[in-house]
Symmetry: C2
Subunit: 423 residues, 2 copies
């Protein structure tokens, strides 16, 4: 029997009524002739409520105990989903991450999956039971401690289970209809993407698209698991993330998959850095030691008369003050002049595998921004992505302008193939 | 290093502030030179809130999934208590029932402890950590399923851990100062009992005293673990439950330990039962098949002219309607006339090991009830207990009258040795 893995997030499990709706959805997949294994997140805001309780008790909870606390959230939702399924007359078994064989390293709060040994899940599926697994959690290989995978980890749990069970598809149910060419709250004309490659989805997820968790896409690519992102509130098809070409796919795929934006980063500029070999290394080693996640890096050309240069980089706002403090401590030894911190920035990214073979994409991109009067502060590119940093307050305008310039605005519902020239 | 096991109930863990208070209390025991292992219940009313969620999803949750759900409650409280202890600068490890080696049978919702294999707890204690264990829960021996021990099960967890760790004492922290000679809400003159035997404590717990869970007292008696019941809100000594004589105990112990009452039972009377051998057995087999917990049983003398008798018994009100329905189904085959159901009853029990050797106790007891105008509907006795069923609305008066008659009312704080005669 084909195996389908489904994932339901907290917003699909906000209360008893939503849980019953999700249960009906799960039993439909079973009724359609599949073995069904489901990964669930904690209900609604319950993870935040648990974090709030922890913060009331101590400003610095030990990571081991924080994981113990937070894993209660999925335990509650998985048991309730299982009850709702039983109420519909199906047999069901819920398993914690540990029971389902989700083996991780021992980095509490951001553990990585090392292996999945789903013996109990397989047994239960073979007996005809629907299986519910607590997302976001696992057990460490060496110490047998309960771990969590970090925010959004349930996507990764679902994909990892799909890989271990050799599932046909991993369906990620969420509160939107799929992956869009841009955030529909900013670009009302944004269209649902019907099919997208893993590579493009990775770039979108890394550039601020919140629909899928980055690590789950990496995992799906490695194990070649098709992901179907769709709404738990409708029966509509969503977005298929896969590298397999669609059947009967004769038209060339669109060049541009979509426009992502990100408001969660800050920019740190280290001013007046001596332009000697090794200075950049000292700066970024300092950031690495402070566990700052660096995103974009730009170094200006050195002014020859002074022998000094400026180095700018972006990092999550939540890491910003840590980064500034760590750098201040090495100011004398590195010998730079000052630090500027700026958290009023926005990042816009254009993603599309077609960029590789279609010149002219960057020209169209920068022209669209220029016509809207958007000033560009940093630029970074990959093979299939161009990202720019702008002022935060012009970000929405910039996203809309780029979306329109690449013909992504909805007309009859399918993305237009872009035919620009002269990159 | 001596090992102390402590237990904190939900009312001592109602919010972040109470959890911090409990943490301070725990670290004091550590500071005093003990290894400390603590069993905790779920916070405040959180078990009821989880039950309510389950009932919103289905009227009949599968017991396995209900246990999965409810065990989230202690997981949350144990992690928070551990965090609060870490915040005070101590190292700490929390363990689920399963991790702590609480092995049970597989009766979900009312599992019994088969064994405790506390390897991880012992390791952590030897490393100098304070250990927090989730109460009320375990893992089944055969199926490795998560189980719960039933309401009040955290008392049993604590005593079982104390036995397995060979602890000096099991301290049960609660929201009252100890075990009293009667419920102080009904008898303001009730006194705290300083020391009580296991046997007496068992009878009190079985007769409606809610301070200690019956099964935990049975467990403590079997493994000879002294229990210290005390308030988590004060530093006062509470009640020691032990069969060891107190040091320097020259005065004879009081005859009467206390007066318990119970409003949770109902009375079922089977009217007009043919007075043939085997009829009572049929009735009680019917109740056993319906899983009704029978408490007191009274059969009246048969009226010779009719050859019929009445059989009355008490059971928990929650089992009452099930019992009535089960009996109605066998009415024809057993051949009784009718069933009377009465849930307006109260039970009063007088408990004291001294009853055995002191005649006159029952005379004093019934005289006290008669003088208060209390009508007695059923009587049952054990070696060290007399229980009567009365109307519910006279129960409080009856408790006060008996308490006074046996000289239990507080004068200077110590129970008076009763010197009656002529039982």
């Amino acid at each position: 029997m084909p195996i389908v893995v489904q994932k339901y997030g907290g917003s699909s499990l906000a209360d008893a009524a939503s849980i019953k709706r999700v249960a009906r959805r799960i039993t439909e997949a079973k009724k359609a002739g599949n073995d069904v294994c489901v990964a669930v997140s904690a209900m609604g805001d319950s993870t935040d409520e648990l974090l709030d309780l922890a913060n009331q008790v101590t400003p610095q909870p030990p990571p081991r105990e924080l994981d113990m606390l937070l894993t209660a959230g999925e335990r509650i939702s998985m048991a309730l989903v299982a009850m709702a399924i039983a109420d519909l007359g199906y047999t069901v078994r819920s398993f914690t991450g540990s029971q389902a064989g989700v083996i991780t390293d021992s980095s509490h709060g951001r553990a990585r999956i090392i292996d999945v040994t789903p013996g109990r899940v397989t047994d239960a599926l073979e007996k005809g039971h629907i299986v519910i697994v607590a997302g976001f959690q696992g057990v460490s290989q060496d110490t047998k401690e309960i771990t969590t995978l970090g925010r959004g980890g349930t996507d990764t749990t679902a994909v990892a289970l799909a890989a271990a069970l050799n599932a046909e598809v991993c369906e990620i149910y969420t509160d939107v209809d799929g992956v869009f060419t841009a955030d529909p709250r900013i670009v009302p004309a944004a269209k649902k993407i019907h099919r997208i490659s893993n590579e493009e989805m990775l770039e979108l997820a890394a550039s601020g698209s919140k629909v899928l968790h980055l690590r789950s896409v990496e995992y799906a690519r490695r194990f070649n698991i098709p992901i179907h992102v769709r709404s738990s509130f409708s029966a509509k098809e969503g977005t298929i993330v896969t590298d397999k070409p669609a059947e009967g796919d004769t038209v060339e795929a669109p060049i541009i998959a979509g426009v992502a934006h990100d408001r969660s980063e800050a920019k740190i500029t280290v001013v007046g850095v001596p332009d000697h070999p090794g200075k950049a290394a000292e700066i970024f080693q300092t950031c690495a030691d402070a566990e700052i996640n660096i995103d974009m890096i730009v170094q200006n050309v050195s002014a020859t008369e002074t022998g000094l240069t400026d180095i700018s980089f972006t990092c999550p706002k939540t890491d910003g003050q840590t980064g500034v403090q760590a750098l201040r401590k090495v100011q004398a030894s590195v010998g730079f002049a000052s630090i500027q911190y700026d958290d009023q920035i926005g990042k816009l990214s254009l993603v599309g595998a077609g960029m590789r073979s279609h010149p002219g994409v960057s020209a169209t991109f920068f022209r669209a921004l220029a016509n809207t009067g958007v000033n560009i502060e940093m630029i970074s590119t990959s093979e299939i992505r161009i990202s720019v940093v702008t002022r935060a307050d012009v970000l929405d305008d910039a996203v809309r302008a780029v979306h329109t310039a690449f013909g992504l605005d909805s007309t009859e519902g399918e993305a237009v193939v872009y035919g620009g020239s002269g990159r």
